[in-house]
Amino acid sequence: MKIGKLIRLARGNLVRELGALAVSAGGVALGTGCLVFFLALGAGLQGVVNQVFPVSTREVEVVVPQLAIGNLLGEQKIDDATVQKLRALRGVAAAYPKMQLRVPAVTRFSGPFFGRELRMGLEVVATGLMPELIGEDARMPFEDRGESQPVPVVVNRRLLELYNKVFAPQRNLPRLTDSMLVGFQIPLELGRSWVVSRSLPDSQETSMQVVGFSERATLAGVSMPLAAIRRINRKYGADADTYSSVLVRAQSADDVGEVAAGVRKLGLEIDDTEQRYAVQIGAAVELVTLALSLLAALITGLAAVNTMQAFYASVRERTREIGVLRAVGATRGDVAAVVLAEAAATGLAGGVLGVILARVAGALLDQIARTGLPDFPFKPSTFFTFHTGHLALGVGVALLAALLGAFLPARAAARLDPAKALTES
């Protein structure tokens, strides 16, 4: 039986039994709609997690073990020689050392701040990074220009998000954007601390200038050029030779395991705190998505049972017609194909409707979230990510549910004795 003729024959029956089949398609639509909705919600939330905890699959943060015996004896350290050893490890593409500012520093600001009067004093925590690590995120030169020039700083985007969503609303301060802040200068006093209320003998007043925003920048404070940190640490007699950590980039994600083993052989360890957070939260999101998807699968299963009942009733009602089909030359397979074609059409309609329902429900909830929920850090513009694969899966599951539901009725129709079917009243 040719597919075009099969569709023509099935179409006639579908039109006639539109009411009953619409109920079946509605059930399938509800199940697959829920499935697509929950999968899109899971993907959307996973996107938020990735935004809050951006994790690279190729990079690891190498630190000195906190409880190493060598560390207690002052022997375990990361110096230039160690960085060279890390760079020489098999599978390593690059290694970028980082150094903490080991000198107390504060900032004190008093004056107009983007249209508001601001008075504040903050302890400055800074990390030195190699300019290559920041790359094009720096919109102005990210390099040490000497003692007389402002120290360029790069700020983590997540810090700006926290300022805009938490700090600014609480203090009635203006919300800021990247472009507003790039070039902005803030006073910096080196060798002074608010915490211990003391100043080093040759404390120095200078300034720092925001030159860009980057995910590479430290989340706890600001990031300065490594050369600037080394210069400041050296000037105040602090350690300017050892690094606080090294970002090691593997040649590929597959090399990370081997790189990690090499790092451990050097007596160092990998700080994966942020990765663990990302993995744990990601796993929680996946678990909830899985549970909700199973619920959706259950609804789809019930829809399949409903489809089965509808098609059993349809086959019972059409017993005589099935006898006629057999009389004019239909094989058992042809009869089953007609019933399954009707089920496929029902499933496709249900699947498409389910996808539309999921998208409409997602848009509705996004709208409610936009207007009804307070603005919080990392609040996404949408909580849903509708991947094409999810939509295809939704339609596929709907099709499968309808076909599975109609399988037994189709088999029963195919097995009808044509002579008995023709005498059915």
């Binding site: 039986m1 006898g323 006629v324 057999r326 004019v328 030359g329 239909a330 042809d334 044509p418 002579a419």
Partner: protein, 233 residues
């Protein structure tokens, strides 16, 4: 060469109620129908006429004995081969028309074209068949919009569209008024003149009288009615 060859065909229905005996509907039926013959089988209601027709049409395979239709041993072929036989070699006309209500008259006539390898030049043949039964103008009408006589003529057109050599009809005029029934009988006469083999089960004398041979099904066996009917013009 015979179109139909039955030898000792018997069929038993299981008992209707527990404790009762099985019902013998056909008890060793022997029948030979030559190609081009017009045979009418008479019998009382419940005598097994329709059952015999279902056996001949390959719709009922649960019988004993031998049955050859157009050279095909009905008990030896597969289900698919039997479907192909019904598709190309046998046309069926039923008492209650058995049209598909979701399809138009033309689509109902085209029904055999949906299956197997289809019917060559199906649409033209279907329109010709409708024209032949006088319903060319009703091609797009659905069965619900047709009278009983018109429905039966659509059913006959459907049986003719594949141009089968054998036509089996089960009480084809049973649900028609005298005038409409006469039109159907005339059509059968015409088909017979064109060389088609017809086997019609009926309890109406006016239908039997159109046939060249009349047989009576009584107590599960076929009997000649004693006189060969004259072929009527």
């Amino acid at each position: 060469m015979s179109a139909i060859e039955l030898r000792g065909v018997a069929k038993q229905y299981p008992p209707r109620e527990p404790g009762s005996l099985p019902q013998d509907l056909l008890r060793g039926v022997d029948l030979t129908v030559r190609r081009g013959e017009f045979v009418a089988i008479e019998g009382q209601s419940g005598s097994g006429k329709s059952t015999l027709l279902h056996v001949l049409g390959g719709l009922d395979r649960e019988f004993v004995g031998e049955a050859l239709v157009l050279g095909c041993d009905l008990r030896a072929v597969t289900d698919a081969e039997l479907a192909a036989l019904r598709h190309t070699q046998i046309g069926f006309v039923f008492q209650s028309f058995n049209l598909l209500p979701a399809l138009t008259a033309l689509e109902n006539v085209l029904l055999p074209d949906f299956f197997g390898d289809g019917v060559p030049d199906a649409e033209r043949r279907a329109r010709e068949a409708l024209d032949r039964v006088g319903l060319a103008d009703k091609a797009r009408a659905h069965p619900a919009a047709l009278s009983g006589g018109e429905r039966q003529r659509v059913a006959i057109a459907r049986a003719l569209v594949a141009r089968p050599p054998l036509l089996l009809a089960d009480e084809p005029t049973g649900n028609l008024d005298a005038r409409t029934g006469e039109g159907v009988i005339d059509l059968f006469r015409q088909l017979h003149r064109e060389g088609m083999t017809l086997l019609i089960v009926t309890h109406e004398a006016r239908v039997s009288h159109a046939a060249t041979r009349i047989l009576v099904l009584r107590e599960g066996r076929l009997h000649a009615d004693g006189a060969e009917a004259m072929e009527t013009e």
